[in-house]
């Protein structure tokens, strides 16, 4: 049964991908990308990767779609047809696809316990997580402790991406930013029903984000997902009430502080671990009891991850949205 469902979802994915490539209308392409992400999230969930599914649904289907739409508001909503290079592109894609399909023949079957990936370090993680951290979600343990360096790198990638987007799109000049009467009209001021429903729902979205953040050790979730969910809530607020209102609620300074502070918090915990006599990001020295020390370290760095992701997504959104306003 689950197999049929998985095949159904995967074929829908292929259909959506072909539709994305074929359409000239950029708006429907954005919507199809969102659908693609949602299907992908369902696929991840079938594969029991609830953490990844949550991230994909929140970032892929939620935040990216809004950012794409904001970007689309700055340009034309139709792609220029480009026929000349078509054949070369089809050829390259065809060769690459057949190579990849050929490579899958060597792949062990899905869920095979003898597959190399299940023989390498995974059994050790599964065995040691209850002993070292004493909480059930092994994904969080791997992400934030066993593979802490990788996650630190990811957080710095998010940080760098945010800085890069802000450099390219620019923060508006302070003199330019005073709200003209036309800007007040932004947001759906004449749409009463979405606003009322939004006011009802946004607190719960943010609350769910916080739940995901602080429940990450026990269920699917963690900093990345929580940051994305909270960012979605605030972006919804910005869409309903206007961008300037959202900037009043969460000003740019706070966003920058979150991006920088989150990355600093993560790195700082690592340095504190070194100062307290352990290795970089070896949380066991943070408290007298090593298990509690690891839990404490994981909670702090997950908070750092959440802050950075939330701040970065919101800064990028505002960079696009305010650009739309300026031109």
């Amino acid at each position: 049964m689950i197999f049929i469902f998985a095949v159904f979802l995967l074929s829908l994915l292929v259909i959506t991908a072909i539709a994305i490539v074929r359409t000239n209308n950029l708006f429907s392409a954005v919507m199809l990308t969102s659908i693609f992400s949602l299907l992908m999230a369902a696929n991840f969930f079938i594969l029991d990767a609830a953490d990844v599914a949550l991230t994909e649904a929140a970032i892929g289907a939620g935040v990216t779609t809004v950012i794409f739409l904001c970007a689309l508001a700055l340009t034309a909503d139709r792609a220029k047809p480009n026929k000349e290079r078509r054949k070369v592109a089809y050829g390259a894609v065809g060769i690459l696809a057949s190579l990849m399909i050929y490579a899958t023949f060597d792949k062990p079957p899905l869920g095979d316990p003898d597959a190399p990936v299940h023989q390498h370090v995974a059994p050790w993680y599964i065995e040691k997580t209850p002993e070292y951290m004493d909480f059930p979600n092994i994904v969080t343990a791997v992400l934030s402790s066993f593979r802490g360096y990788d996650t630190l790198g990811e957080v710095f990638v998010v940080f760098a991406a945010c800085i890069g987007v802000l450099f390219i799109l620019g923060v508006p000049v302070p003199g330019n930013a005073k709200p003209a009467p036309m800007q007040q009209k932004k947001g759906l001021h004449h749409h009463l029903i979405p606003q009322v429903v939004g006011r009802l729902i946004i607190p719960f979205i943010v609350l769910f984000g916080l739940y995901t953040q602080f429940h990450g050790e026990y269920g699917p979730g963690g900093g990345f997902q929580a940051g994305a969910i909270i960012a979605t809530g605030i972006i919804l607020y910005a869409l309903l009430e206007g961008e300037s209102k959202a900037l009043q609620a969460v000003p740019r300074r706070v966003l920058m502080g979150m991006v920088i502070g989150g990355a600093l918090l993560f790195g700082g915990v690592g340095v504190i671990c070194m100062l307290m006599g352990g290795n970089f990001l070896d949380y066991s020295v943070l408290a007298a009891d090593p298990v509690w020390g690891r839990q404490l370290g994981i909670i702090i760095i997950e908070a750092g991850v959440g802050m950075t992701v939330c701040g970065a997504l919101l800064s990028i959104f505002h960079a696009f949205a305010s650009r739309e306003r300026a031109s």
């Binding site: 749409h191 029903i193 979405p194 429903v197 009802l200 729902i201």
Partner: protein, 113 residues
């Protein structure tokens, strides 16, 4: 005995809900213009949502899962109609007229298949 009754009831609800969603899908593909299409998909979606979630709650019994299902149902009941409203409103503002009897409307060439 009571278990069987609950099971049968929940499956009836699930099948009814599923057929609601299916009818909505057919309507979304077959109806002539934009407003009739979102009308079809939105109303049946809301009904199907209630029926399917009631069926699932009966399957789950008195557990935490039922509470979560109820919360999800409430969320979808609030957001679904709102999204449809926003869609229709946006369509009206961007100039698609809800005219009667026309078989095609130029501004809506969605359904990429």
């Amino acid at each position: 005995m009571i278990d069987l009754v609950i099971d049968v009831l929940s499956w009836i609800l699930l099948i009814l809900g599923g057929s609601c969603v299916l009818i909505g899908g057919v309507g979304g593909l077959r109806l002539p213009n934009f407003y009739t299409r979102i009308h079809a998909s939105s109303l049946t979606d809301t009904m199907g949502n209630i029926l399917i979630f009631l069926g699932l709650m009966l399957q789950a019994g008195f557990t935490l899962a039922t509470l979560k299902l109820f919360a999800v149902m409430l969320f979808l009941l609030l957001t679904g109609p709102t999204a449809t409203y926003a869609l229709a409103n946006a369509a009206l503002l961007s100039g698609i007229k809800p005219d009667t009897g026309s078989t095609n409307d130029d501004n809506t060439e969605e359904s990429p298949k």
